[in-house]
Symmetry: C2
Subunit: 545 residues, 2 copies
Amino acid sequence: KPQNERQRLPVVPQGIERDEFLKALAELKEQLGQENVEINDKPLKDGWYMEHPNTHDMMTILDEEEFVASAIVYPGSTEEVQQIVLWANKYRIPIFPISMGRNLGYGGAAPRVRGSVTIDLGKRMNKILDINAEDYTCLVEPGVSFYALYEAIKERGLEDHMWIDTPDLGGGSIIGNTVDRGVGYTPYGDHWACHSGLEVVLPTGEVIRTGMGALPGNNTWQAFPYGFGPFSDGIFSQSNFGIVTKMGMTLMPNPGGHEAFMYTFPKEEDLAPLIDIIRPLRISNILENVAQLRHVTQALAARGRPRTEFYSGSGPMPSEAVHAAAAKTPVGDHAWAYYGMSYGPPQVRAHKLALVDAAFRRIPGARRIDPSTLPADEYFWARDRVARGVPDIHELRWVNWQPNGAHIAFSPVSPIRGADAARLFALGKEAHERYGIDFFPAFCVGLREMHLIVEIVFDRADAGQRKAALACLRDMVDEAAKLGYGEYRTHLVLMDQVAGTYNWNDGALMKFNERLKDALDPQGILAPGRCGIWPKRYRGRGWEM
Amino acid sequence: KPQNERQRLPVVPQGIERDEFLKALAELKEQLGQENVEINDKPLKDGWYMEHPNTHDMMTILDEEEFVASAIVYPGSTEEVQQIVLWANKYRIPIFPISMGRNLGYGGAAPRVRGSVTIDLGKRMNKILDINAEDYTCLVEPGVSFYALYEAIKERGLEDHMWIDTPDLGGGSIIGNTVDRGVGYTPYGDHWACHSGLEVVLPTGEVIRTGMGALPGNNTWQAFPYGFGPFSDGIFSQSNFGIVTKMGMTLMPNPGGHEAFMYTFPKEEDLAPLIDIIRPLRISNILENVAQLRHVTQALAARGRPRTEFYSGSGPMPSEAVHAAAAKTPVGDHAWAYYGMSYGPPQVRAHKLALVDAAFRRIPGARRIDPSTLPADEYFWARDRVARGVPDIHELRWVNWQPNGAHIAFSPVSPIRGADAARLFALGKEAHERYGIDFFPAFCVGLREMHLIVEIVFDRADAGQRKAALACLRDMVDEAAKLGYGEYRTHLVLMDQVAGTYNWNDGALMKFNERLKDALDPQGILAPGRCGIWPKRYRGRGWEM
Ligand SMILES: Cc1cc2nc3c(=O)[nH]c(=O)nc-3n(C[C@H](O)[C@H](O)[C@H](O)COP(=O)(O)OP(=O)(O)OC[C@H]3O[C@@H](n4cnc5c(N)ncnc54)[C@H](O)[C@@H]3O)c2cc1C
Ligand SMILES: Cc1cc2nc3c(=O)[nH]c(=O)nc-3n(C[C@H](O)[C@H](O)[C@H](O)COP(=O)(O)OP(=O)(O)OC[C@H]3O[C@@H](n4cnc5c(N)ncnc54)[C@H](O)[C@@H]3O)c2cc1C
């Protein structure tokens, strides 16, 4: 994609004149140092995953100048975050914190409100404050990525002692991913459930520590999440109630062995019975990690080749073409592929794998893929790494499916039930056909629920494709809500819509969230609109999209 | 203990004249029905565990008329709870919700503020709204006890399919125990972590559903706890921010086998090395449940006989006397007993039990007790039941140690480390010696932390014993805090003191809690003072104790 001249300069936060804004920035520069405050007036460089921008969403779904920051600031400490917050209150300037800004598929580094001042926490606040090999915990700042933690554990010679849990891509921030309630693929995959202890700067500038962190001199901040009294951590996830400056995370003891496995299933209709087979195995922890059931189209895309290598027509790639191409891959043709990992010593694994094998083979045509037949750069090995906590970026490959590949996610939650899977699959497939888009469904099976993750890959330089992708998403969100399914997380552009589907009892939960927002952030400066929560000053003024 | 005449009648909520209060009650009677509003002016009947009072704390640590309700109301539905809340706001009457009121050791059924109107939710709101055998979940009202859920599962023939998790005593409310962040003894022992979805009446009368419950027509309220946006459940635990009227709970699949085991260790000094042995086994889930390491004095008391049968002197029972008595029991003499359970089919258990055995035998004199040598009413079998989710009340027996036996708990959290265990043990022992009280320590080992549970058993008819127990507790709370240990939960009488120990950064967390309290409960009617949180109207007016 060509790098465009900026079209809509200057970017100034809403509600403040340009001159006053520049004066305010000058004041902030004095506090933080010149080099730690940058105005966003240069061309928007998309870069790539490892060199991502912090000025905007590099995978933009709207016009690229829509979700952009007016300036970026780089605090070096919790105290500096407090200073920024007080500054924002003084001038009523919207601020938007990011840890690393790799929230791709959900808005990247971009703020929800155009012209917000982005607080890039991770650039300077990137220390691993503690790794505790006895308690299997760590304490990190926002700039610590899954890669960085993994490397630090290796450096200390602890990689055989304890594992981290990483999402598909290892370049994200542990804090950023966790506060957005992201997931990984070891038994510690529910990052939110695995964290212990937060340090939070409130929108009015005070700093609190949650859990045992509130007890001076404690040695349990990372060992016991709850502390005494209300357990408030949850309200700092998927919200705009505070800025997390430190977080404790638990680490997984080496389980004493592991073994990745893969099965394929021949027909699309195998989905429903397969999901019903998976449910009891998953809830009983015979299947121990968030495992993925992927559709063949995405498996094909995960090879990292552009779609045009397989098919040159327009509209969704026909099923026959997909299967023909899949048949030529090392895994062979299939409709669904299940990627799993078994943990523990050989005799314990053998017990579990035998149960899984007997159950999966009830699907006619089920095949267990022998890993030794797969070349080293097969996607299977990326899953093998991720499911044992080794950060990776292989997953990025399917973004190449389109030129200027970008993507955006639809991720509804359902029970682990065949009927629900079939219903969501049909809903997604129809919507994609309606808009002529290839359909990449993957079911991520949690403990009692699954997320269907549908990634729409589009050419971000093509306004038509962007529009189609967004329309397709909006349809799916509404249609899913009608059937009782809601998203677990969403992109900036869909936040109002998704929040609007959680409207039981006349929107009681959102009214409650707004009450908290107004109490904690009376000036409405922190990430207005994030997750659909608008502060008082913005409500009813048409900010929703 | 004799039943006394009431000394301090009438009991009227603070800030309202008696006549107006009676008028207000009459108004409430019209809404809820005469029979559902009771004034508390009759003698205070302590009853016993299974017939406990809802008017006061049956195990009172202060004068029995201190923590008493002015009236009790029995809502029959969420709408009636809303009506009560609106009524309380109208007259500014403090209300105090209990689910069943069996919070013994932490205040029983009593309100924190004398003269509050107690909302006994459980009496009429006691339905199991759903048991889902596919998802392994249930949805319950406040009056559903662990016993009741267990019986319902049996009635449906599901007892071989799924387990509940129960605390030591099965008569408590699933909701009451969980919102106070109680624990049980299967792998699902962290009740808070295992719940999914709340319905909450806010202090201003609105009703919200959290998680997926906010999405109309959803089928995932009990399957996925988080929903979209801020995850607010936590602020309704150990707080006074809302009244929980429904809660989802996850249930454990039958693990395919189980085997209770017990080890004893001869010396008090074995504690520290033993805890260090336990830590990696527990974090790796080789030891799979919240397991208990109990001191011999409590083991002796757990036989259910009064202390006078073993020793007639005053002051703490001497160590020699304890050991002499223990030597005559089926388990034999010891200093510490470890109660554990291994789950799964035989070959999987064998793997884990072999690791445990090798590790525990590193303590000289460690003995594995052969369960077949233990009679049917041994405490071991109560632990066996509880650790496989069968509700029980054997645990009550040690309350008989003193006549008119009552008890109150000190429960600080520490890492699973020998040095911490030894420090807390010494602290507790010294304090007990100072006050001439028998010391009953039990370490409950969670995943990365342990709670030391010290139960002080006292004669509640003896003002001197009550005073000594309380003074001993207050000393322990302060001394523990100085060393960095804080309580995970506490009795009404200690709430201010314990909350005061969580005072990092000039009490920032409490100021934050107060901010939430004032936003959610501007009139300050809901459970003022619970967990140390006082609404604005009460602050700085000497309500703390
Ligand atoms: C190919 C591909 C695969 C992916 N797979 C996964 C996956 O398996 N699992 C998964 O979870 N995600 C996945 N993602 C999404 C995303 O890449 C990750 O979740 C990533 O970790 C998020 O970016 P980040 O960690 O840099 O967070 P950030 O972008 O720093 O943070 C995310 C958001 O959280 C908020 N936030 C961040 N830090 C703070 C803070 N300190 N205080 C308050 N609020 C804050 C901000 O609103 C921010 O926008 C995938 C993306 C792609 C492109
Ligand atoms: C011998 C003995 C052993 C024990 N062992 C254990 C143990 O192993 N584990 C353990 O956790 N506890 C234990 N306890 C403590 C106690 O008995 C249990 O926790 C019991 O379940 C709590 O009583 P309850 O369930 O009736 O709750 P309730 O008394 O109904 O509730 C407890 C408190 O929570 C609040 N609350 C209750 N319901 C609501 C609601 N719906 N909305 C808002 N707030 C509410 C109220 O402030 C109430 O006072 C033990 C006690 C004894 C005497």
